[in-house]
Symmetry: C4
Subunit: 347 residues, 4 copies
């Protein structure tokens, strides 16, 4: 177990700065959602005002099928971001995740930078840790502390193999993680989920995780933020820097993950994320089988602003877009959207 120090804090700050200012998307790869189109239903036969976005996630009711993806914590800036995101997630009835809590596990004084429950008393809140830490000393105890620290409804473990490789001195021993995840999932009193960070969990991995007792999966597919590209902007070591380009189109596109994972929809809750920018994409993801849709980087920028109006507008816009897409196909509930036959692949 490596000590969390200034370096970690500097890294987290840099991550945010890079994500806000640099082009950190993959090249020649997209979410694949643009290949889908809804059949417009000229006769929706519903009242726009009656469209209901409500659904349930982790046994709680949410007012919209949306999640603010795990992003940050551990620094002062992060604390403010988390607070703003939590306040608006609560007012909108969305779910929320926090960034990796390792910093706070190792340095308790940082716990309050992950504080979201105070501002978000009723919505689903996800604690977050890197699964690879199970090969570096972490276990049930650390997981429990993370969950308790923020009174989380669940713990989501992230799988980020290629990010660790591109991160100088990253933790790259991913051996035997499945067994360890299984153990944690069995022991923890709250549901345990697993996510990627932008390379995508495909059907095969989802199946293995499901069989290990994981209760929900966030596919976090390719086509949005690429952590290899993020690390590239930090790399001052030539090899990793040059190598990042060769991986610019690496990953399982979000839509492809959904196509593969949809079949497990009845056994496990599925969060679609990775490159989500608007409510039409969200509608497509839901029609492709997701229970919830997660937004990462596209909500980071407005959340940095001390005035929350911008963030509120973006969240309202996403809801309006989903609602309008549902109106366009004549679906007035999330259930109807999920069961629509009006989504097709453009040939």
């Amino acid at each position: 177990m490596k000590p969390v120090d200034d370096k970690t804090e500097r890294r987290k700050t840099e991550h945010i700065r890079i994500c806000l200012n640099e082009d950190v998307e993959g090249k020649n790869i997209t979410t694949g959602l643009e290949k889908y189109r809804f059949k417009h239903n000229a006769l929706p036969e519903i009242d726009f005002k009656e469209i209901n976005l409500g659904t349930s996630f982790l046994s709680k009711q949410v007012k919209a099928p949306f999640l603010i993806s795990s992003m940050t914590g551990g620094t002062k800036v992060a604390r403010n971001i988390n607070q703003r995101l939590a306040l608006l997630a609560e007012s909108h009835g969305w779910a929320i995740g926090v960034g990796s809590m390792r910093a706070a596990i190792e340095e308790e004084s940082l716990a309050d930078t992950f504080e979201v429950r105070k501002y978000a008393p009723t919505i689903p809140v996800l604690a977050n840790l890197g699964a690879v830490q199970f090969n570096y000393g972490y276990g049930t105890e650390e997981c429990m502390r993370a969950v308790e620290m923020i009174e989380a409804d669940a713990l989501i473990l992230h799988l980020n193999s290629l990010q660790e490789v591109f991160q100088p001195e990253g933790d790259t021993n991913f051996g035997n993680l499945l067994t360890k995840i299984e153990e944690i999932a069995a022991k923890l009193p709250v549901p345990v989920g697993v996510k990627e960070v932008g390379m995508g969990i495909n059907g095969l991995s989802a199946k293995k995780l499901m069989d290990s007792g994981v209760k929900f999966i966030d596919i976090a597919g390719a086509g949005g933020t690429s952590w290899i590209q993020v690390e590239k902007f930090r790399a001052n070591e030539p090899i990793r820097n040059l190598a990042a380009d060769a991986f610019s189109d690496w990953g399982n596109p979000t839509a492809e993950c959904l196509e593969e994972v949809k079949q497990y929809r009845n056994q496990i809750e599925i969060i679609a994320s990775g490159g989500m920018k608007n409510g039409v994409e969200a509608a497509k993801a839901l029609a492709l089988g997701a229970n919830m849709v997660g937004f990462g980087r596209s909500l980071l920028k407005p959340a940095v602003d001390s005035d929350v109006t911008l963030l509120e507008v973006q969240m309202d816009r996403i809801e309006f877009e989903l609602r309008t897409a549902m109106f366009g196909i004549g679906a007035d509930s999330i259930e109807q959207l999920v069961n629509t036959r009006n989504l097709y692949k453009i040939s």
Copy 2:
């Protein structure tokens, strides 16, 4: 029933100004007609001069299978546009529609801005109302008044769900419209048709409308004017403004609608419109099963000019192009064009 006021007049004027000056087409979406190509017949075996564009529409003979789509009315500028369009439609033997007549229903003094019959005594003329008004107090009476006001041969009802959503204070209750359309179609002494305004009526909706007694359908497909983009230029409210982009590729492309609707050709008259700019596209639409082809925005610009020469040239050009396309495949009547096997999809 909301009163028609200055606001409505301002809106209509703005619509025209925006349609003339801004880029109001969807993005990443086309009519799909460009994917079709005619097989050139080097041996047409006909005389170009004998090619006959005549056909019938709503039991009247027209000299060409063309319709000027429902566009305007309600303002002084609109009156002049309608007059010019009517004069030339009559001289060319095309059919014509007017814009939504709600303004004149609610304020009778505006009736003369929809006056086209005076200038177009012999051709098919279509009255126009929004179907959604049936949920806001309209019924048979209003429909009859619209028809009588302009001595129309038929009434065409428009379905414009997404335009209403993007229009601040739009009428967005589209519940139970089908039953109400069925009622009107049964009661009105003239044929009732239904159109979209640029998002497209696909096979399923066409079938439902046909089964409800609708006599003709104007598919008004995507790939041309997008009313969401038009409203975007009016929006001073941030959410709708931002959301318009997510819907820039929404809709059923004109060619796809035709592919689906063609099967009902023997039971119902089909107007192909949405993005039509020339007579070759029109020829393709006819070969894909349409009875008539409608031109909206592409005829608006020349119709604004007080000198009608420009409008005449455009209409002559469209006819010349259709005629030449027919010559190119060796068809000398609309019937032969409709039954051609010379249209194929480019692979």
Copy 3:
């Protein structure tokens, strides 16, 4: 029969000027040959120096399977062009065609502008007339005069329906031409062929022509010079000028014509032309079933220069490219090239 006058001379001169200086190719349409690729044979097992381009055409031996397409005549400039083309066709052992001879039929003093036999005593020479003239007074007599005037080995009739339509006062009665072509083909002592001028003769038309006694076909497909675009640059009439754009992608691409016509290869000689620019394209056309490959506009520019070096270089280049392509797949005779299995469509 309309008199040939100054107008005709002016038109011919304009055609040449436009073809040399303007963009007269179609848009969004190509020959389709670029979709084919040869499989490189790393082990050709032949000697490059032994590759033989010789073949036969119209019962004469030619040193290469190449034809200079029918292009010009009737003016002083044309005379010089024809002379240069003839001299080099003879020295290279290619076949040659002259432009439409109508001018010289109607005004005998123009006969010498079509003179090619004097400079090309041994190669196949093609006389040329528009088939549509059979509906404007022409018959066997005019055809015989054309053939005799230049001691031609054959007569090739051009079908140019859309060019006539776009040419102000064009001859646009293409009725019943097939019967008339059949009659001429039966009566003439030399073989009669038929060509398009850039819109392509497809399988169906080829079949009909073959069944009418036509002995060879020049498909003259789309993807190269578009006569509609050429006429556009002459049009001072707004309608034709505007309409030309709608036809910018009209026509049967050269490769598609070949795919359809190949089946008749044993009954009729096939010339592939339309957009040919180099010997690799020629090799593909031969592998797709052509007996000869025709070059039009791409040889016009060098032929205008009074110094023939440029023209010679182009012709040498084309031969070198064909030879090299054959070396690349290990074919040392035209027969082997025609029977190769090394051409495939890129997927």
Copy 4:
């Protein structure tokens, strides 16, 4: 047998200069590897640090499945390049080839410019000659001298038909080479391999070569350096210069060669090369059936620099990329990579 003179030396120097400074890639043709993508495995279940790149080639162990392609020799500059490449190939445990040794066969004083064994005592070293020389006086003796001159583990013969054609005064008699290759392969005490130089050896040629006793094949496919384009920059003769463009998309793309050759994997060793620039492409080539991956021009530039740091960085980068790609799919040995099912063609 033509004497090697100043001309040859000048040519070799020019080749290097052109390859370093000009755009010598084909146009409208790629390796085809970009059409493949790996399925990311979020759960690799391996330790990055344990990934082993070692494999065997020509019965020797190599530390990575990489070969520095045959490139140069015969001049002073070449000597330095060869020395640097050899030193780093040895330190990295890669295989290495030298450029065509004809110069040294004909002028023994040039032998030391091909010296690599001194700097690379343990790795596989390939001697190189043009197969076409067997039609110009070469035979077993010259082959043996080449092998002995550099204590090579094997001899690789290059097939470069189109390069010879585009090279003024090239050796273009490729007749009966197969029999002669068979003879050499039978007589030589070391394994004989065959390679192209960038146009690709496809399945059919590979089969013939295998049946003639060839022990390994370097497909050297299209998509990277095109020797026709290289020669174009040297051509001062107009015909070859102009003709080069027509061949800019000629050749068998690297990925297509692999798809065809993979089936012989158990009988013959396969080197994938042609356009290789990074370790992800290398991983794809290995997953498509190659035993080794060759890098040509992409290693030339860093090898020209007298400071070897740049070259080392590139080689390290390529290894890091391969390792990371393997981590991304969860393969910790070359054998596992070769047998992966995680490579798919993007549709």
